[in-house]
Symmetry: C2
Subunit: 351 residues, 2 copies
């Protein structure tokens, strides 16, 4: 895949560490007012004045979080940024800067690293964040990407995950389950390709779920939208590990229970049809799939009217007392305790 896309191969050792950093960072433009100094010194310098600063970090490891057989490096770079921005949005804050560290083995030519970096810079540009620093090092085997995102918010606006209360409504942005099914399609086509290298992958009709997997977006629109609607969530988290796991995080941290209604879970038609094709249960996928990067939050019941007509939001349940537990209310009205079975567990099941 690398060979097809990058006929030119420049050995990384030709540039050296400093040459590589200079080469990769020379096109960085800074746009955030709070960035005083970006790449190029021992550390970057920020001025967040009277705002609170939020900080989050995520690491992506080859062979664990991505498979370069079917993930283009540019998409991978883009995704490495947005998974971190999603965490900043989940604090009801706006991201402002990122630092990026990558470990690469010498099987990657310069052109491959450029691809990766161009995806990162594209995400930075689209989300209006500054890439302010990082580390570039060699690796004995695979590719490892570590990103730290920094954001800001007024103190009064920050939303934690431990402040949901009984009676609150449980709301999710967008729809879920797509990223997981996109991965299933990619895995299937990889298996076909491995058996017969002349086979072309069958990807037509799966556009939406493939994009959810390969080029996910963080919900940067939701934070200003909630402000515009004058709704401050009582708790919030982003959906990286699957709806069930995230609901349990909010419930456990907040010391509450919840009721999630199966029929309310927002699913895209492609998710429903592809789940059928794979003979998988779409509710199970939504609960355990993960990597959707939607926002899950709770709001005061009094705020319901402000969000009920908005196509970006779906009320999927409500918060109850802790002693009532966390339950999925199925279509036939039975209550099933939610479990934290995530992505890993599903993958194991599939093996």
């Amino acid at each position: 895949m690398l060979e097809d896309k990058s006929p030119k191969r420049t050995d990384l050792s030709e540039l050296g560490e400093f040459g590589l950093i200079e080469h990769l960072t020379k096109n960085i433009k800074l746009s955030q007012k709070s960035t005083v100094k970006g790449v190029g010194d021992d550390a970057a310098v920020l001025n967040h004045k009277n705002k609170h600063t939020v900080v989050t970090t995520d690491m992506l490891v080859e062979g664990v979080h991505f498979d370069l057989t079917y993930v283009p490096l540019k998409h991978l770079g883009y995704k490495a940024i947005i998974v971190n921005l999603s965490d900043v949005y989940a604090m009801n804050a706006m991201p402002t800067q990122v630092t990026v560290s990558i470990a690469v083995s010498n099987r990657f030519p310069l052109e491959a690293i450029e691809e990766l970096y161009s995806g990162m810079l594209l995400a930075c540009e689209f989300y209006g964040v500054d890439l302010i620093g990082g580390d570039t090092t060699s690796s004995v085997t695979g590719l490892v990407i570590s990103v730290t995102a920094i954001g800001e918010a007024d103190k009064k606006d920050i939303v934690y995950r431990d402040t949901a209360k009984a009676g609150d409504l449980l709301v999710v942005s967008g729809d879920i389950g797509g990223a997981y099914l996109g991965l299933q399609v990619l895995e299937r086509e990889k298996a076909v390709y491995m058996e017969n290298k002349n086979m072309q992958p069958e990807l037509v009709g799966y556009d939406y779920i493939l994009e959810r997997q390969l080029k996910p977006e963080a919900r940067k629109d939701i934070i200003p939208l909630l402000k515009e609607l004058n709704v401050k969530p009582t708790s919030m988290i982003d959906i990286s590990d699957g709806l069930s796991s995230e609901i349990l995080h909010i419930s456990k941290k907040s010391g509450v229970g919840c009721r999630l209604y199966e029929e309310k879970i927002p699913l895209d038609p492609t998710v429903i049809s592809t789940a059928e094709e794979f003979k998988m249960d779409s509710t199970m996928i939504a609960l355990s799939g993960g990597e959707d990067y939607e926002l899950l939050f709770t709001i005061d019941l009094a705020d319901f009217d402000k969000i009920k007509a908005n196509p970006h939001f779906t009320v999927i349940g409500h918060i109850v007392e802790e002693k009532e537990g966390c339950n999925l209310i199925t279509r036939d009205n039975s209550a099933i305790p939610l479990t934290a079975q995530g992505w890993d567990a599903m993958l194991k099941k599939d093996e």
Copy 2:
């Protein structure tokens, strides 16, 4: 080595990702006033008020930056923190928080990760910084550690590396070359051990340089000391890649040249004797060794009297016009152009 130290082996999969994070972070104490919220949400929250925030990040990769045959995991954890704090000090700022991401393969039992983490927490405690977040993930092969450090300083106090000017004095803290020679001793004893597993390593008498390699410290004392002496460096950088490389960074970024005097380079007696033993040139080691984590800075000539009697500082040269270039003035008074030959180059030479 792991087996000797940790007879108990708890498989990481017994805990799962969230269990592991909870287990590792349960003893974290927060001490910084600016830490509003640490580990446990989508992001940490900081309040740096009217101070400027500095941010830096470094990645350590098994097989590239460390060899677990002779580096105890606790020391490795400690070092992973201090290499980042050193970058914060090099901005004339004080570190306040760190985030830590680790990728580990399942050849590491829980007890090994606990060792690593205990070293990190020890460093955090000693340097008074809060561990506020991170990511813990699996790796297909080796161990990868990515740390981001955050610090603060008054705007007027921050020192960059691009502001040295002709006439300034070039000053270094402590002494240099020890870390590199410590590594040589460890590599030699490893080779002996590999040949004959019954051989005990000969480490007596090398305490100072072994400590410089295995448990380096960042110069947290220098920033308040300079303030006390009423000296604000005109430029500053930390010595991670070797004196020569760092001098060239300052010179290139500042658009100046420099004269470095060989006879002034501060060397510990153990460095001199061990260099002789290894038939290596101690000046070469100081110039290219790296990993000393001392601070290299320039001061206005007018500040010379304030630092000249201080045992922590050595004036090793001065800044000249760019056109004069960057030269080492040898003991026999010849001028040799400085080159950016670092650690990697030396290692290659040794191979």
